[in-house]
């Protein structure tokens, strides 16, 4: 069963004071996330990631479309007990201590009274804040608030968690801990849906990713499959310090190191490059395909339409 199924969810805002015009925050989105997977929702700032999450959380209402979470209509209050949500740059009631805040959220999530204290202590320990439970949140740093945000999202043992930019505000150690936590959640059988614009996080963690840009889904799939389709580059290394002039026409970036030359050029030009080396009687040492990264795929998916839009504007 799909943990999350988005069926044509769309959000259009009216902007302007006198002359109203429509702004598409999210064009009809179709997406399915399987149970137990870590799903990355990628896109540049303003792509529609947060809008999608707000729609799923019932914070804004869609113009059209629907979604199913764990088999229920996403508006069904029952399903919300099974959801954990970390908003982007979370802000909490700063007059409360971390323990009071989590106890309050546990009450709202319907955690039984006798279990609350234990759950709160356990989750504080899990996010690395075991000693500051009694400190008011107004004294917390941005990174500590982010940890509290993660704590409140997993406090009630949800089956699916939605994280909006979970690494935001964290130092390298904190980012590593959050990555580990997300992997632990996966091992516990939970589904993790997280949005980010940091591609290395997604590449390291996700079973599958979707790329969204200008409110439109641009690609979806397993990271390895997506990157294998990217038109890659090859690295050619030969002996000597000479660079044939014809290589420049083949878009090769050349670097001379000691008595070898290393050139990176588009895959489709590799045969022409080898011919050029042969003509110049240069000894080929190696020819290695350069593995495409998620970033390459991301740039490829975003770039072409940008150019088209640039022309039309």
């Amino acid at each position: 069963m799909a943990a999350l199924e988005i069926i044509g969810l769309e959000k259009t805002y009216s902007v302007g004071f006198w002359r109203k015009r429509s702004k598409h925050a999210l064009r009809p989105l179709h997406l399915a996330v399987e149970e137990g997977e870590i799903f990355g929702f990628l896109g540049p700032n303003g792509a529609g990631k947060t809008t999608t999450l707000k729609l799923l959380m019932g914070l804004v209402f869609p113009t059209s479309g629907s979604a199913r979470i764990l088999g229920f209509e996403w508006t069904d209050p029952k399903v919300k007990a099974q959801i954990g949500f970390l908003p982007e740059q979370p802000y909490f009631y700063d007059y409360l201590t971390a323990r009071e805040l989590l106890a309050y959220y546990a009450q709202l999530s319907g955690v039984p009274a006798k279990e609350r204290r234990r759950r709160v202590d356990a989750v504080l320990h899990r996010v690395g804040l075991p000693d500051v439970g009694g400190v008011q949140l107004r004294k917390f740093s941005k990174g500590m608030l982010q940890r509290v945000g993660i704590a409140q999202a997993i406090l009630h043992n949800p089956r699916i968690v939605f994280f909006d930019e979970p690494m935001s505000g964290l130092d390298p150690m904190g980012r590593r801990e959050v990555r580990d936590l997300m992997e632990q959640l996966k091992h516990e059988g939970k589904t993790v849906f997280f949005s980010t614009h940091v591609l290395s996080d997604a590449e390291a963690l996700c079973d599958r990713v979707a790329i969204i840009h200008q409110g439109e889904l641009r690609g979806i799939g397993v990271v390895a499959d997506l990157t294998s389709n990217v038109h890659g580059k090859v690295e050619v290394v030969w002996q000597g310090t000479r660079v044939p002039s014809s290589l420049k026409a083949l878009e090769a970036e050349c670097h001379v190191t000691g008595d070898t030359v290393r050139a990176v050029l588009p895959e489709e030009n590799q045969d022409a490059a080898i011919d050029a080396l042969r003509r110049e009687h240069l000894r080929l040492i190696s020819l290695i395909p350069v593995r495409a990264s998620l970033e390459d795929y991301f740039v490829q998916k975003l770039a072409p339409r940008e150019k088209v839009e640039g022309v039309t504007v």
């Binding site: 959380m57 019932g58 209402f61 209050p77 979370p90 709202l108």
Partner: protein
């Protein structure tokens, strides 16, 4: 009652209790009650009248300020700071949030009124060294003041559900002032002619009738408050408050959170 509503109400109460501004306002109200003793001492034969008048007016005014001050931020502050996101993403319905917020503030106002009323009764005791039977009417006046607070609080919540805190404060305070002259507005409506008569009558019945809830002067003159007025005022305040809260719920149910 719904457990989530109670949790939201108790958190709202806790937020108000931890706000230092609240204590300053209560301290001012108590100071004013104390000052009533001094004014009373230079008012020959009418000390008690002055103490009750000034004391209850202080309770009423400071209570209204507190109701508006806290009420206007109840929803808009939660939206601006996005604290609402982690509440509404839980099994909490929007109406539960609004009703919980209202009850939390109403509870805060009742507790505040209790402490401010202690100041008034303390001043009375200081003057007369004992209570008279007629002093019990002060309790009725305090009850009516609480009813005023509930209406103000519901109106502040209503405005807070769709406008900014500043505008909400202006709207709520304007309605309090107009409502305090509701009887005069009704009097004007009976004298007016044509279209302005309809307009004035409509406005007179639309704005909350705070003048009917103000019995401070009668109580100060030791005049008894009729039982039917207590009943009518209770029903009126309950109905007006319920309508304002329902309005807030209706608006909030359809609001997109930025």
């Amino acid at each position: 009652m719904n457990a989530r509503v109670i949790h939201i109400a108790s958190n709202t109460f806790r937020e108000a209790v931890r706000d230092r501004v609240l204590y300053n306002l209560i301290a001012f109200a108590l100071l004013l009650s104390g000052a009533a003793i001094l004014v009373g001492q230079i008012s020959i034969e009418i000390e008690k009248l002055v103490v009750i008048n000034l004391g209850l007016t202080a309770v009423s005014l400071f209570g209204v300020v507190i109701a508006i001050f806290i009420g206007i931020g109840l929803v808009s502050k939660e939206i601006d700071r996005r604290t609402l996101y982690t509440v509404l993403s839980r099994p909490v319905r929007r109406w539960e949030f609004i009703v919980g917020k209202f009850l939390g503030l109403a509870g805060t106002l009742v507790v505040n009124t209790f402490f401010m009323a202690m100041g008034v009764f303390g001043a009375l005791l200081y003057l007369a060294h004992h209570f008279h039977k007629a002093d019990a009417w002060v309790l009725v006046a305090l009850y009516f003041i609480i009813l005023q607070f509930l209406i103000i609080c519901a109106l502040a919540l209503l405005f807070s559900s769709f406008s900014s805190p500043l505008l909400s404060a202006v709207f709520a305070f304007a309605l309090f002032v107009i409502g305090s002259f509701a009887e005069d507005l009704r009097g004007f409506a009976t004298m007016a002619q044509g279209g302005s008569r309809w307009l004035a009558t409509g406005a007179a019945y639309l704005v909350p009738n705070f003048s009917a809830l103000n019995v401070i002067s009668s109580v100060a003159h030791e005049q008894p408050i009729p039982g039917h007025l207590i009943l009518y005022n209770t029903l009126y305040a309950a109905l007006y408050t319920a309508m304002a809260v329902c309005g807030a719920v209706l608006i909030f149910e359809h609001r997109n959170l930025k």
